[in-house]
């Protein structure tokens, strides 16, 4: 979380479509509690932030990512 970025990393890498199946990539855009990081922290552009949001939600549904991490209720 310490690394606040200025440029969109996904644009730098010419990512056309964020894949919801790529949990390792998506994991970099959630907190250690599993929340989606805000754009001010990810530095992602509008297009990619929207794609990330949808992709993370799909990945959660498929149990590739947790909805909440470390919750002991």
């Amino acid at each position: 979380m310490s690394a606040f970025r200025k440029s969109c990393k996904l644009c730098d890498r010419d990512v056309d479509r964020v894949d919801y199946k790529n949990a390792d990539l998506l994991r970099r855009y959630i907190t250690d509690r599993g929340k989606i990081l805000p754009r001010r922290a990810t530095g992602a552009c509008s297009r990619h932030q929207h794609q990330l949001c949808t992709a993370i939600k799909r990945a959660r549904f498929l149990a590739l990512l947790p909805y909440i991490e470390g919750y002991r209720g």
Partner: protein
């Protein structure tokens, strides 16, 4: 005809032959659909429990099908208890291959490099 992508999560206790058999039945419901890819990701740990199970067998399939065929297809998936969960989405050209086998993570360590630079500041 439209391009779709489906992710199945089967019970991990099933034999591979049983899974192949089920996939054949499901894809048969899509009638004249053209199946373009079927990737077996295999047994995977789930991020949270589904139906009391902590692991599942993942299969990703891509196909071109008539939109009218999707409803009965999904109904069959819902009825089958061996399918822990499924997702049907319109394909956006994503790869069906498991990310761990794609080998396109050239700059996987980017994040760590960033942090190192920050500390120098």
């Amino acid at each position: 005809m439209r391009e779709y992508e489906t992710v199945y999560i089967f019970q991990s206790t099933l034999e591979p032959e049983e899974i192949d058999g089920k996939l054949e039945t499901f894809h048969g419901l899509l009638a004249d659909a053209e199946i373009t890819a079927v990737e077996h990701w295999g047994r995977r740990q789930l991020a949270y429990e589904l139906a009391g199970q902590s692991a599942g067998y993942y299969v990703v399939a891509q196909f071109q099908a008539d939109p009218a065929r999707i409803k009965p297809f999904e109904n069959a998936l819902k009825m089958d208890e061996a399918v822990l969960r499924h997702l049907v989405v319109i394909s956006e050209g994503e790869s069906a291959v498991p990310p761990s086998l794609r080998g396109d993570d050239e700059d996987e360590d980017d994040d760590r490099e960033d942090r190192d630079e920050d500390e120098e500041d």
